[in-house]
């Protein structure tokens, strides 16, 4: 127990130190790198809390994709923060202090750290989801069965949010309107780094294989559509960074990506409609296999997770392509 507390305290101290350092920084490249460190430490804390699925997402999104996207943004703007006059910073400080104070005040109501008598531990509903789901759905990872089956409608909503965000970013970045015009030279192309190219070429199949593993192993361990989608996207982003945007877009034309963005929600909602046509409720996967409810659930979860993975990967990749195209056309 003391070791556990010690590790927690150390990680939280690192987290606070990183946050303070970031807020005092003016060089945005260094701040971006520290943001990645912040996410990594957060992911470690999630692992300590036994929330491996969340930790996985945090590590993939926070450390991987968002760092690359932030660096892409930075290459479009200046890399030093503009100095805000002291007086203009005052309202921000007031808001931050007020919010922080409220949160600290609210934390008084939280149960003691590690207490076994919290409602989460004692409420019968916890037992229902942890035990009943093994009979209803029969997959070891309860997180996946809750995410994709019990609250499948919420997850559909999340997927629509990802879809909308992707479409909105693409509309803002312009590639929906401009066709790919001839570019003079590859700025993001790291062609003279031969070692990097060889190692990336070697690792690429394994990255995509790992993404597939995460997608299909989500029933048994941490993972699922969101994480797999992000890993797919990291693979494509890495390919685009190392081999140049043109080659990446030959492999994955942007039109294909745009279609794939829409495939996810359509497939997800299509599963729901299919359930209704088979005589059940929307997203009632039991109807896929009337004799064996658990088998039907497996099919439904697999389809839904694949839909999530496709859309997340396509949205992330096309946002990166959008930024990278902007970088190239602005030079």
């Amino acid at each position: 127990m003391t070791t556990f507390v010690l590790i927690n305290v150390t990680l939280l101290a690192i987290l606070i130190a990183t946050a303070l350092t970031i807020s005092g920084m003016r060089t945005l490249y260094a701040a971006t790198m520290l943001t990645a460190l912040f996410s990594l430490v957060t992911a470690c804390l999630f692992v300590l809390l036994d929330a491996v699925d969340v930790a996985f997402t945090e590590a993939a999104v926070g450390v991987g994709i968002s760092t690359v996207l932030l660096l892409g943004v930075l290459s479009l703007t200046r890399s030093r923060e503009a100095v805000t006059p002291r007086l203009r910073r005052l309202p921000g400080a007031v808001v931050v202090l007020f919010t922080g104070g409220t949160l600290i005040y609210a934390s008084q109501d939280l149960p003691e750290f590690g207490s076994p008598t919290t409602p989460v531990q004692t409420h019968p509903l916890t037992d229902v989801y942890l035990r009943q789901s093994q009979e209803d759905i029969g997959i070891p990872n309860t997180v996946t069965s809750v995410l994709a089956s019990y609250r499948g409608l919420d997850t559909l909503g999340e997927l629509v949010v990802v879809f909308t965000a992707g479409v909105a970013v693409l509309a803002l970045l312009g590639p929906l309107m401009q066709p790919a015009e001839a570019r003079e030279r590859e700025v993001l192309d790291l062609v003279d780094y031969r070692v990097l190219r060889v190692v990336t070429g070697m690792l690429m199949p394994f990255i995509l294989l790992f993404a597939l593993y995460v997608l299909f192993h989500g029933d048994f361990g941490p993972g699922g559509g969101f994480q797999a989608g992000v890993i797919f996207a990291s693979g494509f982003v890495l390919y685009g960074l190392v081999f140049g945007l043109d080659r990446a877009q030959q492999v994955l034309p942007r039109r294909v990506l745009w279609v794939l963005i829409a495939v996810g929600p359509v497939l997800y909602a299509g599963v729901g409609v299919a359930n209704m046509l088979l005589g059940g409720a929307f997203l009632d996967y039991d109807t896929f296999a009337p004799d064996d409810a658990a088998a039907g659930q497996h099919i439904g979860i697999l389809l839904v997770e694949s839909a999530i993975g496709v859309t997340v990967a396509a949205v992330m990749t096309s946002i990166f392509f959008g930024f990278a195209n902007r970088v190239e056309s602005s030079r």
């Binding site: 990097l196 690792l203 394994f206």
Partner: protein, 104 residues
């Protein structure tokens, strides 16, 4: 069994030593290239020895396979990233530190 335990402990301690010395080097070394060397040590020797030590703890073959895969990936990616950092710095014309130069 006791031999494995001792070997595992020694490897873990050696790995931890490499990680700590990498951290100290990162803070103390005078210029970019030497600091890159220190950081690279943490990833390759430090993490590698720690993973070897964990491998000898005997947690079943499923965990062992995963540890081996992680070791393989670290062995590929960590020297690559160190190399790329140094290569990029060299291309940007970061000068190499010589004895007597001030710390950079």
């Amino acid at each position: 069994m006791i031999v494995l335990e001792i070997a595992s402990g020694v490897l873990l301690a050696a790995g931890a030593l490499f990680v700590i010395s990498g951290g100290v080097g990162l803070l103390r070394f005078p210029d970019f290239y030497t600091r890159t060397h220190a950081a690279g040590l943490t990833d390759s020797a430090g993490a590698g020895l720690i993973l070897l030590g964990l491998l000898l703890q005997g947690a079943g073959w499923e965990t062992a396979v995963r540890l081996l895969i992680i070791m393989l990936f670290l062995a590929l990616t960590s020297p690559t990233s160190t190399h790329i950092l140094a290569h990029a710095a060299r291309r940007d014309g970061v000068p190499v530190w010589r004895e007597g130069d001030p710390r950079r």
